[in-house]
Structures are given as C-alpha cells and as structure tokens.
Symmetry: C2
Subunit: 339 residues, 2 copies
DNA sequence: ATATAGTATGGTAACGATACCATATGGGAT
DNA sequence: ATCCCATATGGTATCGTTACCATACTATAT
C-alpha cells in the first residue's frame, strides 16, 4: 500500500526546513549540495511521492490539458492525434485528460465545464475527420486549439491536413510515371475540406503537367459497393484510365477488387494510389498501397505546442501530407514493354 | 477569462457559512431548501466553478484513474478499450488519464510512478493485443485491473477475449452452412492466447459436428503476401476447402484477393469468416465480411468496473466474442444448385 | 417540565505544498 | 572597517475545500 509521507517528514529526516525540501523538489537554486543530497536520500528512503493536488492548489497550475473529441467509430486510426498530443504534453510535464463527446452543443458545453472544474490549462478539440466545427461559447474561458478541424469564424488556432498538396503529390507520382488518364474516385460527403481539397490538388497537378481535366474520370464513393461500381464504370470508358487515385485507402480496397475481377493486375496493368495511409489497410492490400499520409500525430502535437507556447496568434496551420511509396505504382512505359 | 470565485465568495453573497455552501456542493443533508436555493443562485450568478485540487487535497480522493497502455500502431482499433474504460469511469464520476508506454519494465515503472504522484485511485493496464504481461512491482501500490492481457502469476484481475468460444462460433456458422472442408489460416505469432485459443475453438467445433481434423487445412499467416500464398496452397489441395476461417479480418483481405485471382466468388463459390470485426476492413471487403467481434469496449469497461467495485477477488474474466453476420457465408447446398 | 433525537447552521483546523519574508553568512568593492 | 550582494536557510501564512466540533432550534416522547 502507498505510504504517504509529506515534505514535513522528509524535512525532519533530512534535518532541514520544509522550504529547502520544496526547493529541491522544484530545482530551485540556493541549496547547498550537501543538503540537497540529504533531502534526496530521505526522499529515496521513504519512497516519497509528491501530492500534486497540494502543489496545484498552492501554485495554481495543474499540468492538465483537456482533450475533447467526437468519436466516430469508422476512423479508429485517428488515435494518433491523441498520441501526438500526449507526447507533446509530456515534453512539458503535462497530462492529457481525454473526454469523448457526441456532436451536440450542450453536451460539448458540459464536457468543457467538466474540464474547467479540473482546472485544465487549455483545451484541445480534435475531430475524427477533417471538418468545420461549431463550439460553445464557454470554450473561450481557456486557451484552445483545434486539431483536424477548424472553427466557423476562424476564431481559434487550428491544425488541419494539407489536403490539396497531399492530393497533388498522389497525382504527381502517377503523372511522373507517365500516366495521363488518371481516374479519381473522390471521398464524400460533398463540400467537405477533404473532398474539395483533394479535387483541387488533383486538378492542379494535371494542369501543371499539361493534361486536360476530364470530368468523365471523376467518380465519388461512399461505401464499398458504390466504389466498386464506379471503378467498373471508369474501366468501361472508351478511353479508360491507366491509373487510379483513390480518395481513401479504404475505398482503394473495392477498387483493387474491381480491378482483379476485370483481370487487371496492380501495378503491372494499372497503377493505384490512395490517401490516408491507414496502415492496416495499406499493408494488407496486395500489392501494398502507395498512398499519402494523413498527419494525425503531427496535428495533435501541433495543437498542444500551440497551446503551451502562449503565442496567441490565431492561425490555421496546414500540415504536410507526405507521400508513402509502396508497390502499387509502376511506370507506364515499362508496362508497355512488359506486355 | 475564467473568474475564480471561491466558496467564501458564494457564502458571502448567499449570506450563509462556507460549510453550508460545501454541503450544497456535495449534496449533504441538513440544509434548508431556502438556503440551498440562495447558494445555488449565488453560484449561478457568479459562474462559480469548484477548485477540484483543493477538494482532492482535503478529501484525499481525486476521481482519477490511470490508464496505461502499450501502443502498437498496427492495431489502432483497440481505442475501443479506452472508450469502454471512459464510459465506465464516467458512470462513477471519474476521469481517465491515458499514458502510453513502450514495453520495457523501467518505462512502465516510471509511468506508474507518474500516475501515483497524481494520486490516481487505480490503474488499468491495457494491451493492444491479447497477451501475457509482466508488470513492475510498484503497481501493487494501487488497485489494478488488466484489459486484453493477463499477468504471468495471475496476481491481478483481468478481462480477456474468449478466443476459443469466438473461434468456435466462427467455425460453427460455416459448419451449419454445410461446409466440412474448412481451411483455417491462423494468426501468428505462435503460442499466443489468440493463436492457441482460436485453434482450440476450431477443433472443438469440428469435433462437435463429427468432422475429423485435417492438419493439411491449417495455415498460418504473418503478413499479407504470406497469407495470399497459404490461401493458394490450400486451394490447390486435391480435396480443397469450400470455406475459409481467417485468423483476423486483416488477413482475410489477402484471402479474398487470392480467391478472386483463382476465379472464385465469395460467397457463391466459397465462404469466408474472419475474426476481430475490424469494421473499416470488414465493411470494405466485398462482400462484407462475416466475422467475430473482439470485445474491446467491454474489456475496458469491465476493468474499470472491477477497479471501482472494491471487490478484491482476482479473476480472469473471459469476455464473449459475438458473431457478426454479414455477406461472406452461404449454404453449401445452394452452391451446388447454383453452379 | 425535561430529556432526546433529528434538523439546521457556522466557525475553525486541517490537507500538503509553495510564496513570501526574515535572517545569516562569506566574500569583494569601496 | 563598512557596505553590498549573492548565496543559503527556515518560519509561517496561504491556496480552496472539507472534516470536525460546537451550537441552536424544533418536535416528540417521557
């Protein structure tokens, strides 16, 4: 069981004042090496543990950061946001309290109240997919930063994925491999930053490489079967694509299936690149999927660092989505030579 | 910004003693309705928020539960353990502090020390895959429960998936559909509770249905390509399986691919069932995968409830893995009729 | 009338740490 | 010799809350 000694006990044992013990605890100057050592020894011998509640009460700093998140079961991999936040917090000796909430305002408001009672020094709000959020007013009681989302009125600093550049990269790797007919099955729902940004990136890459945009090559996908059908539709075009850019790694699964059923091999006959780098999916597709990384970890870390920096500038940070190359892309020329 | 009023301010405004305010705050008896209302009003008007640090200091109860977990990036869906723990904690007005650690003892020990300093009332240790864990001695300083793992010497209560019954169910649904040749590609690494338990469940189901166990029908899989090859090997047997039981949903991805490449349709020509119910995978396979649910949420919730129950009996709770039926299984007879 | 128990209320001492103030010592500069 | 400043040390008030004790008032039982 946990013996609970206090600094008084330590002070007595080390034959010093409590103030000196406190100084040792907080690495303050003006303690002789000799006494410092005596205190350290005493703490060691008694297995002393600070009562952070008392410390916090006196010094009005809890070392707690609230982490609010909406939970959407279909994108479980976004835990990395939490990991990133955690690691960034740990760098500053802080802890994160995670609270999941549904989407409605009163519930979020209550959760914020809950966190404020615990004297959190700041709140991170993280969304499981990139979107706009509307937060209750009581959030302004405490420094706040957003991860994977942004506020309607741009009143809060936020970290979001740079969807456009990511999609640009995904398209570019195909373009560089010589593909000019690139099918793009975009994520839905419509008008989300992901859908819009990825389409812009795709178009910009095309335009940079002098390839005209062909409306026919664009599909959308919400669930697997739909995506399978869209892939088939593109394949049946009179001038079909030689490569696919799949809006998410998950939808790439159905694209792979449709390709297999059409007797097409990836990447020999047709190249594919995804988006998200959802590793359990990307690594279990055969061949492994070349894709673009959603920077979950970085967004979480950025938000916490922003909070703790004390810098109040409200910015939206677009975080890079690097390309992760695996085996699903091959050069168009070599395809012709091989077949 | 957060005004920080104290119960003294409330007391003054409501014209009562601080004790009365405290009583209202904690729902103690012996406060007249009239004064209670005055206090409530005052709190409302001043937007009062308790300082939980002070409360905790005085009453020696923090309402904090430590949640320790090893992080393995490949199984991100185990977040559900955290969700379950969180919800169970919320039922008792507690919060969870999540700390991720690597696997080595000193690091875990340090993390426990970290949690103890924050006066957690208990610690949950959760593993990302079902396994035996070895925990440092300082964990005994505080009530502990394990989720998705168990301790070497069975000295701690734990919740684990009932792998055997789960695998029994997966096999049974195939057996009930008339399949007698069932290929089983088991998870690795060897000698894990998952591998052993699932094999036992498979064998027991076979035996219950009077089907002899055929060593040839067993494969193992570690990564996608390996699993693809194992599937092919089984397909080339002179008496090949008409159904597959895939050790995890992820490996089912490669099995589906191998089946497609062999010109076999799921479920018309061959049935498949998985294990884990990793929804992002199961729902993006075509047809959607029938599988068995790993009870992450329930394990997390069980562990917290066990902690808070105060009941010190050390038990290992095997939690049920229910079958989730989707579209990847069909009756063998109908196969013959159709083809 | 008086004892007794339940209800209602407030004052004050903790909880364990740190902030602040007071004090002491030992050089180096004047 | 005196002053000043950096270093070193400890006592004590204090943070915001609850536990504990003391005190009243009321209603019922004796």
């Amino acid at each position: 069981m946990g013996n609970n000694y206090t600094i008084k006990d330590i002070a007595k044992r080390a034959q010093v004042g409590t103030t000196t013990v406190s100084r040792v605890l907080n690495n303050h100057p003006y303690v002789s090496d000799e006494k410092r050592q005596r205190v350290l020894n005493a703490m060691d011998e008694l297995n002393y543990r600070q009562n952070l509640g008392a410390k916090w009460l006196r010094s009005a700093s809890t070392g707690l950061i609230g982490f609010l998140t909406d939970e959407v079961a279909t994108t479980p991999y976004a835990v990395d946001i939490i990991r990133g936040a955690q690691d960034a917090a740990a760098e500053n000796d802080m802890v994160i309290i995670v609270v999941s909430v549904g989407g409605d305002l009163p519930e979020i408001e209550e959760a914020i109240e809950f966190l404020l009672e615990r004297q959190v020094m700041g709140i991170i709000y993280a969304a499981m997919y990139h979107r706009e959020v509307h937060l209750p007013d009581n959030i302004t009681n405490v420094p706040t930063a957003l991860a994977n989302c942004f506020s309607v009125d741009a009143s809060l600093p936020s970290a979001v994925p740079d969807e456009e550049t990511g999609a640009y990269r995904a398209t570019k790797v195909l373009l560089e491999a010589g593909h000019t007919r690139i099918g793009f099955i975009n994520v839905i729902p419509p008008s989300t930053p992901a859908m819009n940004g990825r389409l812009r990136g795709y178009q910009r890459a095309l335009s940079d490489y002098g390839i005209p945009f062909d409306e026919q090559l664009i599909g959308t996908s919400d669930f697997a079967l739909h995506n399978y059908n869209e892939t088939q539709r593109l394949l049946n075009l009179k001038n079909p694509p030689t490569a696919f850019f799949s809006g998410t790694d998950r939808t790439a699964m159905a694209t792979y299936a449709a390709l297999r059923d059409a007797g097409l091999r990836v990447p020999e006959d047709i190249s594919v690149v995804g988006f998200d780098n959802q590793i359990d999916v990307a690594l279990n597709l055969l061949p492994n999927l070349t894709t673009v990384q959603l920077p979950h970890y970085e967004m979480g870390a950025w938000a916490v660092r922003k909070l703790l920096s004390g810098d109040n500038e409200i910015i939206q940070e677009k975080i890079d989505c690097p390309l992760v190359e695996r085996q699903s892309v091959s050069v168009l020329d070599s395809v012709n030579i091989q077949s």
